[in-house]
Amino acid sequence: MQNVIEGRVWTLGRDVDTDQIIGGKYLTVIDPNELKKHVFEIALPEFAAAAKAGDIVVADENFGSGSSREHAPQALRAIGVGAIVADSFARIFFRNAINLGLPAIEVRGVRALFETGDTARIDMSAGTVTNVRTGRSVHFPPLPHHLLDLLEAGGLVEKVRRELAARPTPTP
């Protein structure tokens, strides 16, 4: 994970639930490259075709509420979204995103700072999100160590892989 993440912003409203991120009809799709074609089909229909790697999603409160489907952060990761910043997250989405190594950062008041097309600059160690166009920024408390560790490792798969690899090999 980079310490500074900068990218073009897509804004969304509040309560964008998992049905609006990736609909129930796509739940049998497990190829992330197929899933990414349908991301935000309900909440922001123009997103899937126009979004580029490095873009940043800025949402209002309760982003990702509803289902436990990991398809939602997987589709955003497949697009190459650099980070998701929201006033608040629903808990399962938040864990799923971090577990996939996708930075999900809760920043109170962030949505009001941005319009679609702005550039956001996120400084992880300083704990700031800045709108490069307007110069306005907002602070967030640093992520807890165990979450930073997860993001540093690139996600839960790598973290557990290291833990299991470090275990002594059982002798027969």
């Binding site: 796509y26 436990s68 798969v157």
Partner: protein, 427 residues
């Protein structure tokens, strides 16, 4: 065990202290919880790849893992068939014998409940958000994603942030035609969809103590819609009686301390409360059902199903209203029991005859129309009266379709009249 400043502990704090083996526990603390039960449904298929990528070779404890097929039963698409195939292969390789496959199936949470897989004091996790339902056993039961589940299968534990607890006390008597569903809808109207995000909700008070286990399942189930990590009821005689012959592992009954610290306490008196309905497009957009009924909202589909409300008690409640009546012309009425055993019970009690003679479609057990991915999909300008748990845009297919959430009795009354109807008018 103690909490902050020597204070007592809430039920969630006690369960998490037990699961993590710590002596002192406070909200915000990160603990490593040992998992008592891990449940997967079709989303578990996405657990297999990360499990192998982690370098894991064996599931930590196959006796603590349950797999239930429930979203697409039997497989309705090639994609669903592939998910089922991945799960069957993984289960065979890992000796996961507690597999509720097509033919022995049911909605995953109902399977956990009716087979006694979650007991008081447990920490249970599942790959479905409504895993919260099992909190009615006096357990912490939470939904997680498939990568997280892969780590649980490999290690038998996961990190959890100890949540602050909201205590909800319910007092008063449920009126005729008013149900546990109406209570939880009323609470959603107050707590809202973000009011319990990252938090535990502990239900209690005289009314909750009198509720049956199925009614407690309904209430804990929709704690998910409040954003909560878990919704719980302290175990009592009703819990022990329910689990007496079916508990799969030893119980560790825990109760909240009298001096427990709650972030917020909500007292609800339900005396005189009418049936409630959650209007489009959010489960917290709750109004008294009689007010909505006055607006003559016509419906195209009625759905009596889902993990929230498709137990035998719910189906009987609907059948009592439907007896001698017909489904309104132009309404598609779908009834989907929550498990195969409930389906069989309906068969024995003549309820399948009753529903189909009235013009309903009685399907096998599955999540059915609830999630907009299998059957019972709506057209964009259609309206559905549903006993399920979510009505966000796109939940049953197109974003424009309108879903009203209500009790099973209200669904049946609406199916008969062809518009949203107060069930008390038909009692």
């Amino acid at each position: 065990m103690t909490g902050a400043n020597g204070h007592g502990l809430t039920l969630a704090e006690k369960v998490l202290a037990r699961a993590s083996g710590v002596e002192a526990i406070v909200p915000g603390q990160i603990v490593e919880g040992r998992v008592d039960l891990a449940m997967m449904h079709e989303q578990g298929a996405q657990t297999v790849a990360p499990f192998h990528q982690m370098g894991a070779s064996a599931v930590w404890d196959p006796e603590r893992v349950v797999i239930a097929i429930d979203h697409w039963v039997p497989a309705s698409t090639e994609g669903a068939a592939v998910l089922h195939r991945i799960l069957r292969k993984f289960a065979a390789e890992q000796h996961l014998t507690h597999f509720y496959d097509v033919g022995n199936h049911g909605i995953c949470h109902q399977i956990l409940a009716e087979h006694g897989w979650v007991v008081p004091g447990d920490l249970a996790v599942g790959t479905d958000s409504h895993t919260n339902m099992l909190g009615a056993m006096g357990a912490v039961a939470a939904g997680i994603g498939p990568t997280e589940m892969a780590a649980v299968l490999a290690l038998g534990r996961l990190w959890l942030k100890v949540p602050p607890t909201i205590r909800i006390n319910v007092d008063g008597t449920l009126g005729k035609g008013v149900t546990a569903k109406d209570v939880v809808l009323r609470l959603l109207g107050e707590v809202k969809t973000t009011g319990a995000t990252y938090k535990a909700v502990e239900y209690g008070g005289p009314t909750v103590e009198r509720l049956s286990m199925p009614e407690r399942f309904t209430i804990c189930n929709m704690t998910t819609e409040m954003g909560a990590k878990c919704g719980m009821v302290a175990p009592d005689q009703a819990t022990y009686d329910y689990l007496a012959k079916i508990a799969k592992h030893p119980m560790h009954p825990l109760a909240p301390d009298r001096d427990a610290t709650y972030e917020r306490t909500i007292d609800l008196d339900i005396d005189g409360m009418p049936p409630m309905v959650a209007c489009p497009y959010s489960p917290d957009n709750v109004r008294p059902l009689p007010d909505v009924a006055k607006e003559h909202v016509t419906i195209d589909q009625a759905f009596l199903g889902s993990c929230t409300n498709a137990r035998i008690e719910d189906i009987r409640e609907g059948a009592a209203l439907l007896k001698g009546e017909k489904v309104h012309a132009g309404v598609r009425f779908i009834v989907s029991p929550a498990s195969t055993s409930i389906y069989q019970q309906c068969l024995h009690e003549g309820l399948i005859d009753l529903f189909t003679n009235a013009g309903a479609v009685f399907t096998n057990s599955s999540c059915s129309a609830c999630f907009g991915g299998n059957m019972g999909i709506l057209a964009p300008d259609e309206v559905c009266a549903s006993s399920s748990n979510r009505n966000f845009p796109g939940r049953m297919g197109p974003k424009e379709a309108r879903i009203y959430l209500m009790s099973p009795a209200a669904v049946v009354a609406s199916a008969i009249r062809g518009e949203i109807t107060d069930p008390r008018e038909m009692m």
